[in-house]
Symmetry: C2
Subunit: 326 residues, 2 copies
């Protein structure tokens, strides 16, 4: 591509020294070491202005989230972050925006030991498009695959559920304006904290794991399909975000069961691992909840607060939907 000196300048916001064991920005490729006996885990996401974020979102939050959603995929695989790349297209050079975006990005990169080692910045009159690729390492045969769950496993979820969906509904005007509720839920939507350390330490403890960015029921279904089993969930065991306490039960249920943009882990583990799961959770200060178990058969039952099965189809559970996004 022909280079553009303005866009060379913006690259300065992203060019930080790489750790001594790596080659970072400045050559044709970045170079990353991989430990002997480990595999590389890779995940890529693309965020499009107006589709995945509002044009007026705080750019520091956007920089954080662009990396966070990918780190969440590494965590769900049990992989340790190694490094990331960023491709960013922008309609114009807005230095205040770039400073905030890059600060948000680098702060999370530093915290998670996932340095930005390369990428591309280009002009795009149509709006901001961000694509981040993360690479991590995980010991061979130890990754937390979706197909590794077994009948009898407990089903666990980290953190709390429902807040990002409520924030999104408020920002889109699908719920009446409620500044207090927005203030209590917005961080979960805009600044999710990936379970990057907790995920790594589930290796050898959990069997299958994924993140529930498409919503608990839809994502859990990926484990069921890949592992050929069914699930029974107790709705009362689901960890509700405290901010949802005063809302109508139907809204709480929809947000917790089907709400997306949740960068928590759902994982399965043998019942003998309960104490180990709790110990890892304590070590990394991650709340965990045991929400149900895997059973023989097909499909997913959610036992409601009244002891009656809930209508999972109405909450985004689609038996025919398989995990075919790339």
């Amino acid at each position: 591509m022909e280079s553009d000196s303005e866009f060379d300048v913006i690259a300065r916001y992203f060019n930080r020294p790489a750790p001594p064991e790596m080659l970072g920005v400045g050559d044709d490729c970045a170079l990353l070491p991989v430990s002997h006996g480990f595999q590389i885990a890779v995940s890529t996401d693309m965020l499009v202005q107006g589709e995945h974020f509002f044009p007026d979102v705080d750019p520091a939050h956007l920089g954080h989230k662009a990396l966070a959603v990918n780190l969440s995929d590494l965590a769900a695989m049990g992989a340790r972050p190694l490094a990331c790349t960023l491709a960013l297209s922008l309609p114009a050079i807005d230095h205040a925006w770039l400073k905030a975006f890059s600060d948000g990005f680098h702060a999370l990169a530093k915290q998670t030991h996932c340095p930005l080692v390369g990428g591309d910045t280009t002009h795009n009159p149509a709006g901001v498009v961000i694509s981040v690729t993360v690479m991590g390492e995980v010991r061979r045969t130890h990754a937390l695959r979706r197909n590794a769950a077994k009948v009898g496993d407990d089903i666990w979820v980290s953190g709390v559920l429902g807040a990002p969906d409520i924030a999104l509904r408020l920002l889109q005007g699908r719920l009446p304006s409620n500044p207090e509720l927005l203030a209590a839920t917005r961080q979960a939507l805009e600044q999710p904290m990936p379970r990057w350390r907790f995920g790594q330490h589930l290796v050898g403890v959990a069997r299958a794991a994924l993140d529930i960015s498409d919503g608990l029921l839809q994502d859990l279904n990926h484990i069921l399909t890949a592992s050929h089993c069914a699930a029974q969930i107790q709705f009362d065991a689901l960890p509700m975000a405290p901010a949802l306490a005063g809302l109508a039960p139907e809204l709480q249920q929809a947000a917790m069961l089907a709400g997306g943009d949740v960068y928590e882990l759902c994982f399965t583990a043998a019942p003998v691992r309960r104490e180990q799961v709790q110990a890892v959770a304590r070590q990394y200060a991650v709340p965990v909840s045991r929400i149900g178990s895997l059973v023989q058969g097909e499909g997913l039952r959610v036992v409601g607060p009244d002891g009656v099965d809930m209508d999972v189809l109405s909450y985004g559970f689609d038996h025919f939907k398989h995990g075919i996004t790339l």
Copy 2:
């Protein structure tokens, strides 16, 4: 991100079985093996409709080129392709376009043993944006770095120069319409063939290498800056694309010295390696030309056909321009 069933469907165009030693599409991350003693080389590019390609470009060519430009970066590092990811945002589902784009992409991926193992497909009303990340492996300490050149080295270039720039000028109307000339230069612009095998086999033979996608003079300058030396080039030694034969000398010179979108390698090697360079070139049927040598000092001289130094500043050589794109 909330998923979109239409965009799940388009993912089917890209979901191909991964080689048995890898985990491809379908989990939180792809998993790639890395040979013991090797490093991972990574490169990312973003292509924006209207900026990097014409909206009416043949989608099969676009699919090819989106991967080719990244494979060229691996080649310039001496790395063997391992796998790639694709993030693609589209204004609408156009099945004919998707079929052609994915066919073009997969054909090159298959040829270069660089399977597509993951990615993201999203809606973007504003136009097509493509981001590809390639990962390769190269033996530790063996990568062809820009800073490894030495005074006295020969300077080599693969292939021929000038055709992509002429095609771009014709398509942009900066040259008078000339269907014959366009037919003779367009493939170099739209379907560049990265030197993926040749690059790998320059390891241990060449010292420094890069691809000249920003133009010969500008990219060669990155080697000079990183390796703290100067260069002397013989213009008559530059390999001109045959299609340029009838053009005005000024146009030939500008296209060859400054024209971008050239996915050829420029590399340096000690004079004792001349026969080895020629042998590797013959083995992979890559034409190579010895165009000059590295000398002490700073800057770059191009000795013109008349024996007089050419004005390199007018051809995109900028002493103050350093390689700061990410």
